[in-house]
Symmetry: C2
Subunit: 444 residues, 2 copies
């Protein structure tokens, strides 16, 4: 990295906010993906959008890659600096602004995580429901089009991002829906907000996201039930949705996963395909949802329907689901895991594995646990993941229901979208990032 | 129109499916917008996507504009042939395919209207809820990013289109989410589907839309109540949403509109700001929603809460809302109307008018009735509409909550989105339609 460039970065961000050695290693250690981690040449910690804009302009004029970074919780290697460059660590931009309890909107900077936002909202009667598991940055969730367990009721990031402030590679600042706008719907021109949601930092740096909030449910009930077969659990899910029951969460764990969870959390659940459900609403409506869902569970041969109203009891009931990721990792201490996302109907074809499904969305993860030091095993895991994704594609599904393309699934994107779609994506990228500096080597 | 071009079009579509005179007038008569109607030079009626592709290819090589057309129910002049060219009347492509009751998806061609789809679905327990009022083509609704009264619960077209088959200007066929794919969510690459929803035919011809279906509600209750002021009605709406009541429809009519409706439909509603609500769910949940909403209505000084369960009684109760458009037109026989869409908080600023609000979405229409022969009045209506839209923009709103930009609001798009956003939209258009042949003169 040329000294002149470092000097220019320091002149904008201040010396302590530009590092070329120490922080790079820190970043390195936090990448949770299975991808070989290439560190950047430097890390900058901008304090506001003006600094981001100036710093990007400097990188642009030097032809140096720009890699956005906030919580680093992604699993597809999206923050890896495959061609070196400058990592923009945006965690110090953590303001929450423009809360409107009348319009159900709020604006957050990249350092704000979903848990931080929800504690900020605690007394307003509103909340932000998209929950990918990790306490991710909300702007990062917008960048990767995150979803998670609540998506069946509240939608994914695609449905809940209303506007984005984006710094383009050359430093220009774009407001995808117009500066300061925070309407619930619009039909004005092309949907630029939707274009940036899920673009994984390859089109620009998201420096602020305006989000749609929801009324906090008055009552929440969690429920769990075991099934004699995967088929029965899936059938039950379809019928619950067909019945129009406004279930908030409906999650599937297979028998192998349940056994791992029992071991990890000291539980004694039946080692069978299991559904975890959550109902939101008024006390009366929730009660009725539980009753209706319970009847459908029975019809499908499900076990007794255990349910809980209070927060503590709910957490206990859902402990297995909440800890599934760690339970899987604990099967082999020191291991890492790789999730694979596939569509609904494939669930009944996969014989067994560590399966966690957002079945309400027709999406499940097969968790593959491996030793990160065993290159041969990594290769086998990659091959299996690719086979599973191709099976999903053959069933008209997607190779990635969540988590994005990142580094790991680039070879599958063309198979999913086709040559023409990929060509158009590349042309769009070339408009916004003509020098290919924005998070290069990802997605396309 | 050169004879050679007409010959080439006829060779693909067959002579009876290409017209250069008769049908043009037919089309002309059906434009419901206030915009001066420029007829196309020819109309073609393709039978399938292959024909659309070949016909577009011919227009492309001749440098002739392409104007997509189906039901012609749009209100912003989106199907006007401002530069002449060939109108693609897609109404004869009316297949409904790929219904999956397990995945809640279906694919429709441009000739399929929302009512036709819902009667096709009648026995499946599923329905498609987006309802812009008119019995519009579903592909047209995708093209204009339509929404309507149910959007507060079920989202707009942006949330309910999963995939689009699009013929580009040069005849290439794009599947925005990959050929035949119909998953509920994906994080694979840039959201091309979202880019085409709301592009108003300026990026390509939508020849098939894959839609997300919903479970039909077991019970539906309609309700009506009058308020002492606009402010009270709006306050009530906000509180209903904040309470997390999953209301399916919540519509506002002001006193002037109510008087017009009473006169038109022989009703005797109070001439006051009025809310029309609809609740969907199980019988028990609906009952509770009505009770909860009724309490909030009372707190805001609303009148007795009249409600109805049965279809006929519901239709009677909602008659005023359903006929609002025609009631407005009937105020001055022979007149036309122009809707203006604005955000929520503006509602309390507008003193009075013919106001119909999708208040659950923070969006309302002010219906302006005018004599289409009075050019001076048309000018005044246009000026008023622009003033109202600018007021919406000043309040961080949008100049078009629905209906699109079309011809009528092009001068407002830059004010809403900013120079950079508009530049990017133009660059995207140039990628997909380098000769500017797709519905030219609209949106940008």
């Amino acid at each position: 990295m040329p000294g002149e460039l470092v000097k220019a970065l320091r002149a904008v961000a201040g010396s302590p906010n530009v590092s070329t050695a120490l922080a790079v290693r820190e970043q390195h250690g936090r990448d949770e993906s299975m991808h070989r981690c290439s560190p950047p040449d430097a890390v900058v910690w901008p304090q506001d959008v003006e600094q981001v804009s100036k710093l990007a302009g400097i990188c642009y004029s030097h032809g140096v890659p720009i890699i956005p970074f906030s919580t680093g919780t992604g699993l597809e290697g999206g923050v890896t600096a495959v061609r070196g460059g400058v990592c923009f660590n945006l965690t110090r931009m953590d303001r929450i602004t423009a809360l409107s309890t009348e319009d159900f909107t709020v604006a957050v900077e990249p350092g704000v995580t979903r848990k931080a936002l929800n504690s900020y909202l605690r007394d307003t009667g509103l909340w932000f429901p998209v929950d990918p598991g990790a306490d991710a940055s909300l702007c990062g969730m917008a960048a990767t089009s995150a979803s998670g367990t609540n998506a069946v009721r509240y939608g994914t990031m695609r449905h809940n991002v209303l506007n984005l402030q984006v710094v383009l590679a050359d430093g220009r600042v774009l407001h995808t829906a117009g500066r300061g706008r925070h309407f619930r719907k619009s039909a004005a021109g092309y949907n630029l907000t939707g274009l940036f949601v899920g673009s994984e930092g390859t089109l620009g740096l998201i420096t602020q996201a305006t989000l749609r909030l929801h009324g906090s449910p008055e009552a929440i009930v969690a429920a769990v039930c075991a099934f004699p077969s995967v088929h029965a659990a899936v059938g039950c899910t379809v019928q619950v949705l067909q019945a129009g029951i406004p279930v908030a969460r409906i999650e599937f764990l297979d028998d192998v996963m349940m056994a791992a969870c029992n071991r990890f959390s000291g539980l004694s659940y039946a080692v069978s395909p299991t559904l975890f459900l959550e109902f939101h609403g008024s006390p009366g409506s929730v009660e009725e949802q539980v009753r209706q869902a319970g009847e459908i569970v029975q019809l499908n041969g499900g076990s007794d329907f255990a349910w809980a109203w209070e927060l503590e009891a709910r957490n206990k009931l859902w402990a297995a689901r909440h800890n599934a990721w760690y339970a899987a990792l604990a099967l082999r201490p020191g291991s890492k895991a790789r999730p694979v996302c596939s569509p609904f109907k494939q669930l009944v074809c996969v014989s067994s594995g560590l399966i966690v499904g957002h079945v309400g969305d027709g999406n499940f993860h097969c968790i593959l646990v491996f030793d990160p030091a065993d290159l041969d095993e990594i290769q086998r895991v990659k091959e299996f993941a690719t086979r599973l994704a191709r099976q999903a594609l053959a069933l008209d599904g997607t190779c990635t229901g969540e988590h994005g393309i990142g580094l790991g699934k680039r070879h599958l994107l063309c198979e999913e979208i086709g040559e023409l779609g990929l060509t158009i994506m590349r042309q769009i990228k070339a408009i916004l990032d003509p020098k290919n500096l924005m998070n290069p080597g990802k997605v396309l």
